[in-house]
Each structure stands twice: as structure tokens, then as C-alpha cells.
């Protein structure tokens, strides 16, 4: 939780103050400040968090704060798919959790490709449709990025999410051979986050120009930041650095 707060700190200081002052009547407005200021209110929350995240990977730690009310992550009990996965990949499958009725399986990078292939081909799973592939940037986490796959099975009408932590220095396996639709999704993640996919047939930028420098959806890429060299070269706009 504290890690998460640090990542969010810089943008909060500008506009967050304004928003918070607007919301004096609102009950939830003070909560984020409470967390930082009064340690008393944090303690009970924290005990719950540590209990729950005992077996969870580092990416999950930042994501979990049990609130007084509202939904929380709950570990799956007697989940057939989770049992099947854990049997097949005893070390690779870290957890299976449910949040607002959406199921998330967390796996390690070394088995990611095999797990996804298993999910597509195994008759018990049969996830033939890759809904979405994207990434998250947890700047201060030990393993910085988190790849998120959303899968759907047309036959079983079931929807799941697979997450996998990836470090900045690591590259992920490409799943274009598993689902063709992953092609542009992986290019987009590469374009905006800078995560490389091994085995991708044509990994290059897709939304930004080919010779752009920087990865805009990273948390340390400020919203006003631009590739000045590119702009100067292609648009002939030169600006004095602020």
C-alpha cells in the first residue's frame, strides 16, 4: 500500500488538493489522507492485508487494502481450474483470487506461455478467445510491470484474467502463435510500456511513430513529456525547455 502511495504522490500534489477541498461533505474524501496521517486507522487494515497476501506475489501487495466496506479480493476455494493449473504447474501458479466476481490467476513468467497454451487447448479450460492484453506499471515494485490477459471461453461462457509480473529487464513470451489477435495488442504494450515480447513476428511501434523515444504509459513518463527531438525534426517546432 505504501508503495502504491509513493507512486501516486507527484500527480496528487497538484490537483488532488483541489479535489479534496471540494469534497468536504463527502465521506470518502479524507480517506487517503487518513492513511498517511493517522497510523491508528491504518493498523487494522494492514493486519488484514498481510494475512491475505501471505502467499501472494509482490505485485499483489500494492493492490490490496481491505476497506471497511466495499469489495475485496477473496481467495478461490474449490476452483476446478485453479486446482487443475496448480497440479500442472505446482510452482508457477501463485494464486487464484476473485474480485467482484471476476477471477484472477497469478502466474510466474517462466510458465506464462505454457499456462496460456494450456488454457487454450485443455478441454476443461478451452479459452479460445483472447479478449484483451495489457500491462500495468507498478513503478516501485520489485518486478515493475504486470501483464494482464483477459480470456473468454465461447463454449463454457467463462471469463478469466491471468496476471504475470515482469521485471523491466525481462521480456515476455509472445502469444501470437496461441491467439493471432495478440499481434497488435503486444505491439501496443511494447509501444506504450516498452515491454519486449520474445518471438513476436514483427515487434515495432504501432500508435506512436517508429522513431519516437520513450514509453508514454510508464508512470515515470510525465503527461507533458514529449520527444522534443522528434518534434523538432518532423514538425519543425522547437521549444525552450521548461
Amino acid at each position: 500500500m505504501s508503495e502504491e502511495d509513493k507512486t501516486q504522490e507527484p500527480p496528487k500534489s497538484e490537483e488532488g488538493a483541489v479535489q479534496e477541498s471540494e469534497s468536504q461533505e463527502d465521506k470518502q474524501s479524507g480517506e487517503s489522507e487518513e492513511k498517511k496521517v493517522s497510523t491508528d486507522s491504518v493498523k487494522p487494515d494492514r493486519s488484514v492485508t498481510t494475512q491475505k497476501t501471505a502467499g501472494a506475489p509482490p505485485t499483489k501487495v500494492a493492490k490490496k487494502v481491505a476497506k471497511k466496506k466495499g469489495p475485496t479480493y477473496e481467495d478461490l476455494v474449490d476452483n476446478a481450474l485453479l486446482n487443475g493449473l496448480q497440479e500442472k504447474f505446482p510452482k508457477g501458479v501463485l494464486s487464484g483470487q476473485s474480485f467482484l466476481d471476476q477471477v484472477t490467476y497469478t502466474v510466474t513468467l517462466d510458465v506464462l506461455y505454457d499456462v496460456l497454451l494450456y488454457l487454450r487447448d485443455d478441454t476443461d479450460a478451452d479459452y479460445d478467445y483472447l479478449v484483451d492484453l495489457t500491462a500495468l506499471d507498478h513503478l516501485d515494485n520489485e518486478e515493475r510491470f504486470c501483464l494482464v490477459y483477459h480470456l473468454y471461453s465461447h463454449k463454457k461462457k467463462s471469463f478469466i484474467r491471468v496476471r504475470c509480473a515482469v521485471d523491466e529487464s525481462e521480456s515476455a513470451p509472445s502469444v501470437v502463435a496461441v491467439w493471432k489477435t495478440a499481434d497488435w495488442m503486444e505491439r501496443e504494450v511494447y509501444d506504450l510500456f516498452g515491454i519486449k515480447f520474445m518471438g513476436h513476428p514483427d515487434l515495432k511501434r504501432i500508435l506512436l511513430p517508429d522513431d519516437w523515444h520513450g514509453y508514454p504509459l510508464r508512470k515515470d513518463y510525465d503527461i507533458k513529456l514529449q520527444d522534443q527531438a522528434w518534434i523538432g525534426k518532423h514538425l519543425r517546432i522547437t521549444r525552450t525547455p521548461e
Partner: protein, 373 residues
């Protein structure tokens, strides 16, 4: 049109041709690098990103409520649906209940938007192929829907339709009557379009057997919406994973058989009729009461993540919202149906004539604002 005899005597050389970015039939700034062997397409590479505005990055720097109008501007043809998908996700995370009247009006407006979007698609698809009259007719009816939007939302295109918890305000007086009038009159207009196209020889020649894709392959390529259903796969999120109360309404999901451009046309036209059915049911059952539920002024969803998927006119539109408990989203990922569908263009145009590329771009119903975000 798609069967061409291989040249036997003359030797041809592969020619590279740029289609777009400024080309009227690419529906925006799409550039397709075509490799042509005579008139036959050998390969096609899409080059996109001309309209990239970094909407996902902007979202991370705005509050949950401030994000909403930006999503109008992704798919500007179906702005009402876009906002709807995002708000459903936020409301789910916050546990906000939308009152029945609000829910019903939302569904009515989203379905009207589906019709407006399909009308624009039909108009441009027809004019790309050469049917001028349909273009004018479709815009005539779309105008009626845009007038309704203007009356309720105050805008025709970038509507900022809904708010967290429901609607901004209730329907203006006489609005239901106007919608009822539209529902009564519109089926005759659909017949009119069908009279012009469905059995038209030129239309059949240009669309039958063009851009064929099987159901299995369509799933593999991630196609959703009418392009998937045209291949006979029964996947409509309103039925498969009902949201917002769609399970309370009766409607059918039209399916094609051959997975060609013609079947996708038929599916979309039938979808307009089904949307009318839903709107009629809303009008019949519209309850009284508030249109907006109790929602806090500052939206701070609990720490967690939620994928909210809806059936937009173009297919599965998903919002993957990740919250860190602050007033701004940690990440909002938009899963645009056309960005993912457009990559199948390469597969669909191979072996066809260059003129068919235009028909196939049309049948995918892309909006570049959404492709590039």
C-alpha cells in the same frame, strides 16, 4: 469478382501502393500499404496512429468523473455507448445502484445510438461501393436520432451522455412521444434500404463472397460484434454477459452463415430492427422515479480492478479499470473493438481485388478515433 485467372503469358511485378492516410474510403486517417500483383492484393499492412491522443494516459491524470468526456471522443460515432461501458465499471466498483428509470433510459439511448451508428456505417459502406441514394436516406434518419440526442444531452455527437449513478436530468417533455414516433416510422425506412440493396445485383456482386472468414478464425483474430456474428458465432455481450439490465428485454441476436461482407450487412440491418424492439419495450415499461442514484461527489473506487465489457455497435468494448483507492484511476485500459478487429484486414483482403479492399474496410466498420485513441 474475387476469382481472377492467373496471368499465363504476361509477367507482372509486385507493386506497392499507399491507400490513405487521406482517402475518403478509409473512414479517417488509416494508411494501408498494399502490395499488388496487377489488381490482386498480395499483402496489406495497416499503418495507424495518426489520431493517437493518449487518452489512456490522460485518464490517469484526471479524476474518475473528469475522464468521462474523453471517452466520447474515442469512438465519436457511438459516444453514448462508450461512456456507458466505462460508467458501468465505475458503478460496479463503487457499488452504486442506478434507479430503474435511469437504467431504462440509458438502455434506450444506447440502442438509439446503435441505430445511429449502424446508419452511418450503412451510408458510408454503400457509398464506398457506389450506392449514392442509400447514403442520403440513412443520413436523413440519423438526423432524427441526433435531434433526440440534442434534446436530451444538449449535444449531437460528443454527448457526455451519462453521469455516475444515472443521468444528468430526466427526459424533456414530449421526448417519449418523439422516440415512439421514430420507432413507428423507422421500420418502413429499413425496408426502404433493403429494397435498394438486399437483392440488388450490383450489391450482391460486390459483397457476396468478399472477405470471407470462418467462425473459428474470426474468434482467433479477436473479431467481435457484427463481423463475428456474420460468421455465425453467437456472441453478443448483451446476452453472453448481461450488463445494465439487458436480460430484462427480449431480443434476438442475428447471425450470418457464410461470414462474408453480405452476411455482415444482413446482420447489422437486422440488429437495427432488434434495437427498435428493445426501445419499444423500454417505452412500454418505463417506470417513474428518479433517474440518478445516490453517488458521491468524489468517486474513489476501492483498491481493485474490474473489466467492464459492453456490446458497442462495433463489438466488444471493454474498460479495464484499475484503482489504487485514490481519486484518479491507476489505469484505464480501453479495449477497442475496431483496433483489434482491424488487424484482421490483412487476412481478409488477401487474394481479393483492390476495389474489394474498400468494401472490406467498410464491412469492418472502423472508427479511427477509437483505433488510435
Amino acid at each position: 469478382m474475387n476469382s481472377i485467372e492467373e496471368p499465363t503469358v504476361l509477367d507482372t511485378r509486385v507493386l506497392e501502393v499507399n491507400m490513405g492516410p487521406q482517402h475518403p474510403s478509409t473512414h479517417g486517417v488509416l494508411r494501408v500499404k498494399l502490395k499488388l500483383d496487377g489488381e490482386k492484393v498480395v499483402d496489406a499492412e495497416c499503418i495507424i496512429g495518426y489520431l493517437h491522443r493518449g487518452i489512456e494516459k490522460i485518464s490517469e491524470n484526471r479524476s474518475y468523473i473528469e475522464c468521462v468526456p474523453y471517452y466520447d471522443r474515442t469512438d465519436y460515432i457511438a459516444a453514448v455507448s462508450n461512456v456507458y461501458g466505462y460508467l458501468l465499471g465505475v458503478e460496479k466498483m463503487m457499488g452504486i445502484e442506478v434507479p430503474d428509470r435511469g437504467r431504462y433510459i440509458r438502455i434506450m439511448m444506447v440502442e438509439l445510438n446503435r441505430i445511429a451508428s449502424h446508419l452511418l456505417w450503412l451510408a458510408t459502406h454503400a457509398i464506398d461501393i457506389g450506392a449514392m441514394t442509400v447514403f442520403l436516406y440513412c443520413f436523413r434518419e440519423r438526423e432524427e436520432i441526433l435531434k433526440l440526442f440534442e434534446a436530451l444531452f444538449g449535444a449531437r455527437l460528443t454527448t457526455h451522455a451519462f453521469r455516475v449513478g444515472g443521468l444528468w436530468k430526466d427526459l424533456p417533455s414530449g421526448f417519449e412521444r418523439e422516440v415512439g414516433k421514430f420507432v413507428d416510422e423507422f421500420p418502413a425506412h429499413i425496408d426502404e434500404y433493403e429494397q435498394l440493396l438486399t437483392e440488388n445485383r450490383i450489391w450482391l456482386a460486390r459483397t457476396k463472397g468478399v472477405g470471407v472468414i470462418s467462425g473459428e478464425e474470426a474468434i482467433e483474430w479477436g473479431l467481435t460484434g457484427p463481423p463475428l456474428r456474420g460468421s455465425g458465432v453467437d456472441y453478443d455481450l448483451r446476452k453472453a454477459r448481461p450488463y445494465g439490465g439487458y436480460d430484462e428485454f427480449d431480443f434476438d441476436v442475428p447471425l450470418g452463415e457464410n461470414g462474408d461482407t453480405y452476411d455482415r450487412y444482413v446482420a447489422r440491418v437486422e440488429e437495427m430492427r432488434q434495437s427498435l424492439r428493445i426501445i419499444q419495450q423500454v417505452l412500454d415499461r418505463l417506470p417513474d422515479g428518479p433517474v440518478r442514484g445516490k453517488a458521491p461527489k468524489i468517486v474513489k473506487p476501492p483498491v481493485g480492478e474490474y473489466y467492464s465489457g459492453i456490446e458497442s455497435p462495433r463489438g466488444e468494448l471493454g474498460y479495464y479499470i484499475v484503482s489504487d483507492g485514490s481519486a484518479r484511476p491507476f489505469r484505464v485500459r480501453i479495449r477497442p473493438p475496431t483496433f483489434i478487429g482491424l488487424q484482421a484486414l490483412r487476412r481478409l483482403v488477401k487474394g481479393h481485388l483492390m476495389a474489394d479492399v474498400i468494401a472490406i474496410i467498410g464491412t469492418l466498420d472502423i472508427v479511427l478515433g477509437e483505433v488510435d485513441r
